[in-house]
Amino acid sequence: MMLAWRLARRELRGSLGSFRVFLACLAIGVASIAAVGSITGAITAGLQGNGRALLGGDVELRLTHRFAEPEERAWLEDEAASLSEVITFRGMIGAPSGERALAQVKAVDGVYPLVGAVTLQDGTLDAALAEQGGTFGGVAEKALLDRLGLSIGDDLRLGTKTIALRGVIASEPDRQTGGIDLGPRLMVSTDALEGSGLLQEGSLYRTRYRLTLAEGDTAEAFQERLDEALPDAGWRWRDLSDPSPGTTRVVERIGTFLILVGLAALAVGGVGVSAATRGYLERKTETIGTLKALGASGGLTVAVYLIQIMLLTAIGIAIGLVIGAGVPLLLGPTLSEALPVPADFGVYPGALAEAAAYGAMTALLFALWPLAMARETPAAVLFRDVVEKGRRMPRPTYLIALLALFAALVGAAIFFSGDIRIGGFFIAGLVVALVAFALMAQVVRWIARRLSQNAALVRGRPALRLALANIGGPGSETTGVMLSLGLGLTLLSTIGQIDSNLRGLIAGDIADEAPAFFFLDIPAPQRDDFVAVAEADSAIEKIDTAPMLRGRITGINGEDADPEKISPEARWMLRGDRGLTYSATPPEGTTLTEGEWWPEDYTGEPLMSFIEEEGRQMGLKVGDTITINVLGRDLTARIANFREVEWRRMGINFTMVTNPAALQAAPHSHIATVYAGAGEEGRLTRLFAQDFPSAVAIPVREVIERTRDLIGQLADAVRGASLATILSGLIVLIGVTAAAQRRHLFEAAVLKTLGAERGTLMRAAVLRYLLLGSAAALLAVAIGAAAAWAVTTKVFEAEYVFALPSALLVGGLGVVATLVTCGYFARRMVAVMPARMLRSRE
């Protein structure tokens, strides 16, 4: 091994320059993965580091629809060092102008916040919220002031109460973000809600009990005591181990996905690594022959070059890690301001190790084949130019090593992404795309060969003939160009097609069919009046209402509902509160897929109708029982049937529907969907506000608009991550073109000798790259369209529409990338002096 190391060192001396593409490819891939990992790490650490402030204490216990019972509250007060009660709900805020807007209302007690401090642009929270002259105060985010044209001192309507706006919130430590906010924050004191009519039984509000623990107490111990003392309260528990589970989940999901996109950059880099290794070893053919002639074994030969590849891989990875860790650190202060969550920028060894592991495995995977083939170089190359290598495939040992490396890479993707489907599918997608482009390259070559011999086509078009012969002939760079550009363009194309279809779907079908409003918290006694007002208004085309409760699934078939026991795609069902309703008849548009609906007057054992897809994912069957905690009480119902629901119609629909007798007695409110033409929102908000001050109006079109924007932002983030793949692809393309350059220069010299003019050569080069770029773009668009078709039709069950602008963009990018990259080389080719070039080949 020492001999191999010595030989490797001598060989590598002065060769680093020829590995620029190798190093760049590896560095870009590793850097992009390390950067995404570092940013994700920074956010996760930021969330953890600010956990107490974000959580508002050491532990938060959340209830839906209800306050803690006196004995529950007493227990908490006894067991915790301090306790604060915070209520959150959506509410309609009325401005003096009569305008109304939806806000996220937060009512706080006198000790809020237990941790951290709310800062206002001017003044203190306690003073701002206090009662002055019979009126309580409130503070709001600036967005609410902007939306309603408010100024400090204005009186606001909240339910039936008047609140004086006394301050603008500058920072709120426990403001949780994630998903789409339905309105800006308005903060008032809990006392201010007294008599507002907003927190009635059945209305949709949440109470959060924030606690700090006594010294020596731990969250685990506290939770144990709580479960023992108040087992049926239906608390939703959060502690410092994950103070912001929603945000953490979103950040981790996006981070995982972006790292996988970075893996695509690495895969493209792998193509460059493979080409660079092959080129290097081809240049070393004589050296390998000499080593063998001098008695070096095949194993030693491989060891000498494997050591060099490993050293280069280490250098490439190191460069990538420095960039990947350094850029987020440098941009940290700017990013921190832009991010809606706290982030603690630093060096995250875990993220860097992940990037390094991917880099090492990819480099070895792509370099091993040429290395294994170099072993087969016989000493006879020293005597004859053309020597048949004994094998066309590497020896079995190397093939096994290749398979093992590939398996390790797949395993790492699954391990790091934490999801066998996401990691596995992504790797499978990468492999399929790479194979598709390699096959496409062969097809393109075959077609080009056939066309170049088609006399009718090429007669009088020498440039076309030259281009086609070059694409189709042996040693052409077709495969290299297709592979280098292919993945990047495919990513862009897939994102473009999916983005366009989703946004189209939201803007088109969904927006057309969606109601103008969802109304929440219509008190049950006012439901009929509400419908009457709606039906009397000529602008309202249709109104549907349904009783609405929220509850958490706590048991399945008599056992605790454990998210780990059901398939990952259905775990969200157990994560939080789910809406449920009751109905004597199947809701409109329902299709029963199994079982029977209950009779209209059924009053027996509670029965439930469950959505088929989620039910199957949870492993449920007709006859199983589901226990739901509603308002602190457990309701166990037997599944009577499964049904199908078309969610995207956005009508009223619930995962779970029970027979009326099961839930009717529980306090609840109603929700309504109101269908009306666009432009009626303002008037209708005011109309319902007069008689139903507690009803919350959610303007659906606005939410759709925001969802569309959010999808656009997500698509932009993925597009940004794809840039690494495109950049990597361009470098590989430059490497491939540079490798082919010497041959093209020689060909140009011969052609000039035979009478080719410079224009003909230039046209031939442009045509060659135009055709190759177009072929790569064409396949990329086709794969992107196929992926988008699958997502649109199978996941969203909508009609797929080919997004021409995205396809044109990808096509244009493919052509421009090849032309610009190759233009430089083509210019050199045209300028070549035949005598000098041919003399050097003699």
Partner: protein, 230 residues
């Protein structure tokens, strides 16, 4: 008096190298008549290949004038020179210089295609049959032996019926028997077309088959003997 096929007058060639300018040819004058066969001999580095490159307009002289059929190369730009070569010359190299991405047929048809002539493939096929490669038209250079590659190169150089045939050590990379067959073909093709042939070689016997032998040394013409074969 007829216009000479090639006329060089006081031609010098100096090339740049890392060590500084290198004088390759010194004040050289030579006139080759139409239909002549001229062997250029001399030791390695004597400048014979460079002289051929100048005649083929593949290199520009540093000074002096070069004319072919009265056309002064100095007055033509690169593209005009390319067209001139295409229409008047065929060149054969020691290393064949076939285009590796093209089949034998495509290599031979290229000069005709560049000239925009009809029936390029048919003519190329005929030319390959003439050099005995009628059955290997679809082979790529890497699939042909050295002798076969040089035959393809010969077919390519003669397919358009050039008035001047330039050959630079055409047997240099071939074994004796193969080389001999190539030379037979070369002279046969020259005889068929009456082309002016300039053959660079260091094989004295081969040069002796030419009607005139120009001997070079150190970038200068040492001797110029006509009717050597007579």
């Amino acid at each position: 008096m007829t216009t000479p096929a090639i006329a060089l007058e006081n031609v010098s060639l100096t090339l740049d190298s890392k060590a500084g300018p290198v004088d390759i040819l010194h004040d050289l004058s030579l006139q080759i008549e139409t239909g002549e066969t001229v062997g250029i001999v001399g030791p390695s580095g004597s400048g014979k290949s460079s002289l051929l490159m100048l005649m083929g307009a593949l290199e520009r002289a540093t000074s002096g004038s070069i004319k072919a059929f009265g056309q002064d190369y100095g007055s033509l730009d690169e593209d005009h020179l390319a067209r001139f070569r295409r229409d008047k010359m065929g060149i054969v190299f020691q290393s064949f210089h076939l285009i590796p991405t093209m089949t034998a047929l495509e290599n031979v048809s290229i000069p005709l295609e560049l000239a925009g002539k009809e029936g390029a493939f048919a003519a190329a096929r005929a030319a390959l049959e003439q050099v005995g490669l009628g059955k290997r038209v679809d082979h790529y250079p890497s699939q042909l032996s050295g002798g076969e590659q040089q035959r393809v190169a010969l077919a390519r150089a003669t397919v358009s019926g050039p008035a001047i045939l330039l050959a630079d050590e055409p047997t240099g990379n071939l074994d004796g028997a193969t080389g001999a067959s190539i030379i037979e073909l070369l002279f046969g093709l020259q005889g068929d077309t009456d082309a002016t042939l300039v053959l660079v070689t260091h094989d004295e016997a081969l040069a002796a088959r030419c009607s005139r032998v120009v001997r070079m040394s150190d970038g200068r013409i040492e001797s110029d003997i006509r009717e050597a074969a007579a």
